[in-house]
């Protein structure tokens, strides 16, 4: 419940209030829509505070937005290990810069009596929040390494799920606490934009780059009249040209599409008889596959048992992936006694799928942050990012007639044995009762 409040209600509320509040403030109180500069009262501290802070935070924010906008390209870029290290290093450097800036800015607000006379409570609140936010960000980066990489599988889809109005918390459920606090902090800062000096981020003077140097304003009606006539004449012409271009362009696009279809119908390439047959066959195959998948799902929903694999197909080193009742991946191995060993494959750290090849010590590896899990117990190695063990699943072995030969309950007791003549035909299942019961 609290999660829904913090990660779904708060963001929507924050963005809504930010947009409405900012528009209101910019339109109704244009005089207040900037940050109150104090360089006039104190310049030295400002230089050492404002410069590092603004340079750091601008680049850091760009680093936050890029993976959100271009997750694919971002991942491709970072798949180069050197690049990944460079990005992470740059991130650390910039956050250190931010931290330096914030500390100087904060100290200056607290020490200088001149600055105190222009400091509001909100200024201090914002400074403190930003300090928290930077520290939390740095903590996350240190505790769960390579955030620039795993964000594309966690926070980025979470943000997109918010943007597409289909919020999904499962992406961030398993994130470390520092990271979760960082997310909440971000939403609070967004919320505070219209009520604080943060509003100044909307006042970046981009238009200065293109405007002419001098700005002469006539309020003289006689002068205005002539200007207005010229403007109206030009404007009418501009409108006409714009509209014509639009209509013409639309027509061209439409006719391209229509002509293409018509052309295809009369002059397009015809399929030969055999090609047509092949096409239909492949379509049929695709449908069959889909039907099979559907069936599997239905089975999973209704069946008491889910087939994992034939007992003889299981191996001690290379596990077989299967999907459990929650549609989560799991892996099936065979142990020394020739009995199945089933273990969940969803890493307890950030939910990656764990690899299926056991090493010499009987451990499987999560490739995302290098956690080794013991197959028998599910426990991770010492110092692994994952702290909780992977759950071990229960199983049932049935012979070809459907009689239970052996089973392992949820608690780990094993009942029954498998005779060698049955081992050839026996099949391994998981049982709903074991999971839900």
């Amino acid at each position: 419940m609290i999660d829904i409040l913090l990660y779904i209600v708060l963001p929507y509320l924050a963005v809504l209030i930010c947009i409405i509040g900012s528009i209101y403030r910019i339109r109704k109180e244009p005089m207040t829509y900037s940050a109150l500069s104090s360089q006039f009262l104190e310049a030295r501290g400002l230089m050492w505070g404002s410069l590092p802070w603004h340079i750091g935070i601008s680049l850091i924010l760009i680093g936050h937005i890029l993976p959100f906008l271009f997750p694919g390209q971002w991942n491709a870029l970072l798949s180069n290990h050197a690049m990944l290290l460079a990005v992470e290093g740059l991130g650390y450097g910039l956050s250190a810069l931010c931290l330096l800036g914030l500390v100087v800015l904060g100290a200056r607000r607290l020490i200088s009596s001149r600055i105190q006379s222009v400091t509001t409570t909100m200024d201090l609140v914002i400074l403190l929040l930003l300090l928290f936010q930077v520290v939390l960000g740095m903590l996350t980066a240190m505790r769960a390494q390579y955030g620039s990489m795993w964000c594309t599988g966690t926070t980025v889809p979470y943000l997109w799920s918010l943007v597409t109005l289909n919020p999904d918390l499962s992406y961030i459920n398993d994130l470390p606490h520092a990271m979760k606090a960082h997310i909440v902090g971000a939403w609070i800062l967004v919320l505070l934009i219209p009520f604080s000096r943060l509003i100044h981020m909307f006042s970046v003077p981009i238009s200065y780059l293109t405007r002419p140097p001098q700005n002469v304003i006539w309020a003289n009606p006689r002068h205005q009249k002539e200007k207005a006539e010229v403007f109206a004449r030009d404007e009418a012409r501009r409108h006409f040209i714009k509209a014509s271009c639009g209509v013409f362009g639309g027509l061209v696009l439409l006719s391209v599409g229509a002509l293409d279809k018509i052309g295809q119908f009369f002059f397009g390439p015809r399929l030969s008889f055999s090609e047509e047959t092949e096409l239909m066959e492949s379509k049929l195959k695709r449908l069959e596959l889909t039907a099979e998948q559907r069936k599997l799902e239905v089975e999973r929903r209704e069946n008491e048992f889910i087939l994992v694999a034939a007992l003889k197909d299981l191996d001690r080193e290379e596990g077989k992936y299967f999907i459990d009742y929650q549609m989560q991946p799991a892996i099936a191995f065979k142990n020394e006694a020739g009995l199945p060993q089933l273990i969940s494959a969803k890493c307890t750290h950030l939910g990656c799928t764990v690899g299926n090849k056991a090493d010499k010590e009987g451990r499987i590896l999560c490739p995302c942050h290098v956690s080794y899990f013991d197959i028998k117990t599910g426990t991770p190695n010492q110092g692994a990012p994952a702290e909780a063990p992977l759950p071990i699943l229960g199983w049932v072995v049935l012979n070809s007639k459907g009689e239970v030969l052996a089973s392992r309950s949820k608690t780990g007791e094993i009942n029954g044995t498998i005779a060698t003549q049955d081992a050839e035909t026996a099949q391994v299942f998981i049982r709903r009762a074991d999971v839900t019961g």
Binding site: M31, T32, F40, M47, S50, I55, T120, R197, W218, A219
Partner: protein, 497 residues
């Protein structure tokens, strides 16, 4: 031809007595609000001296105004487009409070509320920024009358080109000389503050040329403060906006005289319309330093010329305005008599406030306590003047001494001629020689004398009807839009969070 009208000004420095009444009347009306206590939209400086803010003329330090780049085009010395973005988060050229002074008041309450004790209660100075007790270290006219002082006057950067001997003469004990330089915003025709504003908040009014800051658009980037070479845009630390002299436009619009003009005790100020060609401004400011004064005069237009009048009408300038331009004392001083010169035109902002350079300290040295009577001696005295011509040229003609010389000669010739009329003690040949030398004639000399010594208020201040009422009636109804007519509700200045 893009004819624009400018309400412009002439200050006659020979008449200034340095009483600061102009500064005080301005302060009382416009800058007694919180955050603006340190601002002096009008201030009076002692020259030679360092001025306010300290050493404002040192553009190597403050980087104000325009310079010519390699291609001969005008470029802001700082705060150009790219430069502005680099300096967005911290501006190294912006003057700080220490360059002006920390404004203070006195703790008057203590005189009434102090506990009974051994000593008389005192009113100690307290800062108007922090409210804490403070030591007064500087003020707005801190070097007032301190010419000759080694810590103030000697640092005047306009003395840089003087030889040691000239410097020595200038600061010789008992012969120290100085004059006063009252300054307000020049309402330049090529303002660097307007050009530098990242938000586009500053603008020049087309009909009267007044340069203003739109407080609603200003985002407090402070680029204008750095870019104005005259340091006449000030940053209000309380509201976070820039403020500057508004030439008392609310008074002008109702036909009244601006405060500093009205209160001027020495009657040194003149106000009137000048017409100039907007298309010629940029080119005029691209010429080499020594021809800048001439180039500015060329960009000013003759209000008696028929083609100018026609073009002015086309631009919407009213007949009343043109009439005011023809009666303008500023036109007389600047264009007809060529006596008034712009201050530091080498900053290339084309200032529209003109100064008649001071003759008195320059010439007040003649022997035996009386001025010599022969024209020859009169003019040779120019070379030995107490305030070197070189110094005046640095201030008023971008270093061109010829211009200053011709102004000085004319002023002296008039004086000589008027003396002869009153006392009749000079030879007629001498007088005509002096007038020829001064490039003037008896009629002109008399006209200049009358405008300098005996003008009425109406002659000094020819205020054109600004006809703002037309603007109001055509763009919005005073009922619907009370704030924009200057009537009705006023907005409280409050920054909020």
């Amino acid at each position: 031809m893009d004819v624009r009208a400018q309400v412009s000004m002439v200050f006659h420095l020979d008449k200034c007595i340095g009483c600061h009444t102009c500064s005080v009347s301005c302060k009382n009306v416009w800058t007694d609000r919180a955050g603006s206590e340190y601002m002096w939209w009008n201030n009076v400086e002692t020259k030679p001296g360092t001025g306010f803010p300290t050493l404002w003329e040192d553009q190597d330090h403050y980087k104000g105004g325009w310079k010519k780049n390699g291609g001969g085009d005008l470029k802001l010395r700082s705060q150009s487009k790219l430069d502005s973005f680099i300096k967005l988060f911290y501006n190294p050229n912006q003057p700080g409070l220490e360059d002006y002074y920390e404004p203070w008041t006195y703790e008057y309450e203590n005189l009434f509320d102090a506990e009974e004790g051994e000593d008389q209660p005192t009113a100690i100075p307290i800062s108007q920024i922090t409210g804490q007790p403070m030591d007064i270290e500087a003020g707005p006219n801190w070097d007032d009358d301190l010419s000759g002082s080694p810590i103030y006057a000697e640092n005047d950067i306009n003395l840089d080109e003087l030889t040691d001997e000239e410097r020595h003469q200038l600061f010789e004990i008992e012969r120290v000389s100085m004059f006063y330089l009252p300054r307000i915003c020049n309402h330049c025709a090529n303002p660097s503050c307007v050009a530098s504003c990242p938000s586009g908040a500053l603008y020049k009014r087309g009909e009267d040329g007044i340069v203003l800051v739109n407080q609603d658009v200003c985002r407090g980037w402070r680029a204008c403060v750095s870019a104005c070479p005259y340091k006449k845009v000030y940053y209000n630390w309380k509201t976070g906006k820039s403020e500057k002299c508004i030439l008392c436009y609310p008074k002008l619009e109702t036909g009244q005289i601006p405060n500093c003009f009205q209160s001027c005790v020495g009657r040194i100020r003149y106000l009137g319309v000048l017409l100039y060609d907007g298309d010629r401004v940029a080119d005029a400011m691209k010429v080499p330093d020594h021809s800048l004064v001439e180039a500015q005069r060329n960009a000013l237009l003759d209000p008696f010329d028929d083609s100018v009048i026609a073009a002015a009408r086309k631009n919407g300038i009213s007949e009343e305005f043109l009439e005011a331009a023809r009666n303008s004392p500023v036109y007389d001083y600047v264009m007809r008599w060529k006596l008034a010169l712009p201050l530091h035109i080498e900053y290339r902002t084309m200032p529209m406030l003109f100064y008649v350079p001071p003759l008195l300290p320059a010439m007040g040295k003649l022997e035996n306590g009386i001025y010599e009577h022969s024209a020859e001696k009169f003019f040779t005295a120019l070379e030995q003047s107490r305030v070197p011509i070189k110094y005046l040229a640095r201030l008023f003609s971008a270093g061109n001494e010829e211009i200053i010389n011709s102004v000085m000669k004319k002023l002296m010739a008039i004086r000589y001629y008027m003396r002869s009329l009153d006392l009749d003690d000079v030879d007629v040949v001498e007088i005509s020689k002096a007038l020829r030398e001064g490039n003037t004639n008896p009629e002109e000399a008399e006209a200049i004398y009358r405008m300098t010594a005996l003008p009425t208020v109406d002659q000094r201040y020819v205020i054109p009807p600004l006809q703002r009422e037309e603007v109001i009636s055509t763009t919005c109804s005073p009922e619907m839009c009370k704030g924009c007519t200057g009537l009705g509700v006023t907005v409280e200045i409050d920054r909020g969070p």
